[in-house]
């Protein structure tokens, strides 16, 4: 039996406290995130530089996507954006594939109960370390080690070992792209490895034991047990990595010689940043930056929808379908009159 106090408490509505507790989040989020997003959307329909007060409709979109538009250099703007989009894809692909393969291999090794590996904790800590370092400093570190001339560590060491000419690690287009892929892999493989490890450790160990007893080798165990059961977390990793790849900024922007970023490493994030951050407000291309941002937003939304679709509870949906089917059959039978209650 509930006491008088308990009954009284049940009758009080605490709903207003709920609103009070979540209010700060929503106020700040609307002010600093939602409104800037809407504002970016508005800016994408307005002009660039000194003409930023004029409405131009879809001109910014048609300029950056197809090179059509009245503005001077529309074709060049389009080519720059297309190149940035291509670079983003190349750099993301080139770091995601080695990263996921390496992480998956390490995660399987680290969770294999049969393998005796001394210092497992130490390895994990060291492999995650690059992820914690300031990305700007990582770019600076690699620029100072891989400089183009013979006065930098890597080239000097290679030349000591007999190489004739220094390699253009920064100004060579594909060398630089390869370096950015390498740095991104270096930064992220530890993180992906730990995520995949926690996914593998969530798999029921008796499955592996049973497979072992039945004589499955480690390859079969990997392809028939680990990989299928790891699918949700793999999809999650893939999508977060793609969204992260669209945001790739610090390393491509800072991996350069001299005062300006390297054009052959320009990603979409760099493109957006460069366009709205040029000089004073009147010199910046808010229109192009806004249009590019909205395109990225659309891509992100599609990717998010895909994860949601892939990760929804398939069992629950299947059960719902079954229940409906059973209901239908039952009703059909009732109509036939074959069943009396």
């Amino acid at each position: 039996m509930a006491s008088a106090a308990q009954r009284r408490i049940k009758s009080i509505s605490y709903a207003k406290y709920g609103y009070m507790f979540i209010a700060p989040f929503f106020l700040v989020y609307c002010f600093f995130q939602v409104w800037p997003l809407i504002y970016t959307f508005i800016l994408s329909f307005k002009g660039n530089q000194a003409a930023s007060a004029n409405w131009v409709g879809f001109e910014n979109y048609s300029t950056i996507l197809f090179g059509q538009g009245s503005a001077a250099g529309a074709q060049a703007t389009h080519q720059e954006f297309a190149k940035a989009l291509g670079n983003t894809f190349i750099l993301w692909f080139g770091n995601f594939i080695p990263q996921i393969l390496l992480s998956l291999l390490l995660a399987v090794w680290f969770t294999d109960a049969k393998v005796k590996l001394p210092g497992k904790g130490f390895f994990k800590i060291v492999m995650y370390m690059p992820n914690i370092i300031t990305a700007a400093s990582v770019a600076a570190l690699y620029v100072n080690l891989f400089g183009d001339s013979k006065y930098y560590f890597i080239n000097a060491t290679l030349m000591k070992m007999g190489m004739a000419e220094p390699i253009q690690f920064i100004s060579g287009e594909w060398n630089a792209k390869f370096m950015v892929m390498f740095i991104q892999t270096w930064l992220w493989f530890g993180n992906t490895m730990i995520m995949l490890m926690s996914g593998i450790m969530g798999i029921n160990p008796s499955l592996f034991e049973a497979a072992d007893i039945d004589g499955a080798n480690s390859g079969q165990q990997f392809f028939k047990i680990t990989l299928p059961l790891l699918q949700p977390i793999m999809v999650y990793t893939l999508v977060t990595s793609m969204i992260g790849g669209l945001q790739m900024f610090d390393i491509p922007y800072l991996y350069h010689n001299g005062a300006q970023f390297s054009k052959h490493l320009e990603t979409v994030a760099v493109y957006i940043y460069y366009n709205f951050n040029k000089g004073t407000v009147d010199q910046a291309n808010y229109g192009y930056a806004g249009a590019a941002s909205i395109i990225i937003f659309a891509i992100t939304a599609c990717l998010g929808a895909i994860t949601f679709y892939m990760n929804r509870d398939k069992d629950a949906i299947a059960k719902k379908k079954q229940r409906k089917k059973a209901e239908k059959q039952y009703k059909a039978k009732m109509k036939q009159g074959g069943l009396t209650l």
Partner: protein, 309 residues
């Protein structure tokens, strides 16, 4: 009989195979460890050489003796007999990379954002799990939906908006938005759902404790593990954030560590390689030291974040 002998035999060289496999794995791990650590080691070694030595032989694997000299150049504290070029170099580096001020600015920003992020995220998570109200599930769905939106998407509008509010060169646009951290809220809600019994709230109500006091004195202490993990990640993310800081802070006095590093990178004359390396070392060192102290915590936190679904 033949059946029995088939099953009775141990697998061929089972032990030898496992040992061989372990050895291969160990070798690969050692190699990856070297790839992770050697760049940092070379960086620290090179920051102890002066630019003259580095120009003669840039490929050095052991410490030199010029750390103090490099540091004096960076602090613009040269001996009186220094040449004009040396003075110019020192002034250039000191203006771009003012160590104390940079650490201070980064610490203020990262400290304040961390506090705001964990406090308000815990508060929002508490509101969403403890109270039943009409918009509860709608609010939670909204938070999950916006979790993955990248900053880049709204940054053009954000900067323009901050220009119109005259908040450029101000820490406010970097600190206050930390109150709204959807991913942290998502983590805290799932933590509370698994390990925060709602009966406690009811018990404290019966004892006459107010709602905010219950949150501050009962819920917060019970959420310490989640708060610690998210606090560390928030601190690191804000200490490392170059993108937002660089678009808001244009004044040299307000530069944070990542901005200072990018400025040193952009030099195209009067470059002193030794001091360059020292700058990068100084920007990396605090976070690496803190990482090795808290590493167990951090690795566990990453693993927790990965368990979704």
């Amino acid at each position: 009989m033949s059946l029995k002998s088939d099953y009775g035999q141990p697998k061929e060289n089972y032990h030898a195979k496992i040992i061989a496999k372990s050895a291969v794995i160990f070798a690969v791990c050692v190699l990856l460890t070297l790839i992770c650590l050697v760049p940092i080691y070379i960086l620290i070694v090179n920051s102890t050489h002066n630019s003259m030595d580095l120009a003669q032989n840039p490929s050095r694997f052991w410490f030199g003796s010029s750390l103090g000299a490099n540091f004096r150049t960076l602090m613009n504290n040269l001996p009186s007999d220094a040449t004009k070029t040396m003075k110019r170099v020192a002034t250039q580096y000191h203006n771009a990379f003012n160590v104390g001020q940079g650490y201070m600015n980064s610490l203020i920003i990262a400290g304040c954002t961390t506090f705001l992020t964990v406090f308000f995220s815990a508060m929002t998570a508490y509101g969403l799990t403890v109270y039943e109200f009409k918009l509860n599930s709608a609010a939670y769905t909204f938070i999950i939906a916006v979790m993955m939106i990248p900053v880049q998407v709204s940054s053009a509008g954000f900067v323009r908006f901050m220009y119109s509010l005259h908040l450029i060169n101000n820490f406010i646009p970097l600190i206050v938005p930390a109150i709204a951290a959807p991913a942290v809220i998502f983590f805290m809600v799932s933590y509370m759902k698994s390990s925060f019994p709602l009966d406690i709230v009811e018990a404290s109500r019966i004892d006459g404790c107010g709602e905010f006091r219950t949150f501050l004195t009962i819920a917060i202490p019970m959420m310490k593990p989640a708060i610690a993990v998210q606090g560390i990640f928030a601190f690191v993310a804000n200490w490392n954030n170059y993108y937002t800081q660089n678009m808001i802070l244009k004044n040299e006095k307000l530069s944070t560590v990542p901005i200072m590093v990018s400025k040193v990178l952009a030099f195209d004359k009067n470059i002193d390689n030794g001091v360059n390396f020292l700058c990068v070392t100084l920007s990396i060192l605090p976070i690496v030291v803190v990482y090795f102290i808290l590493s167990k915590f951090i690795i566990a936190g990453v693993a927790l974040g990965g368990v979704k679904e």
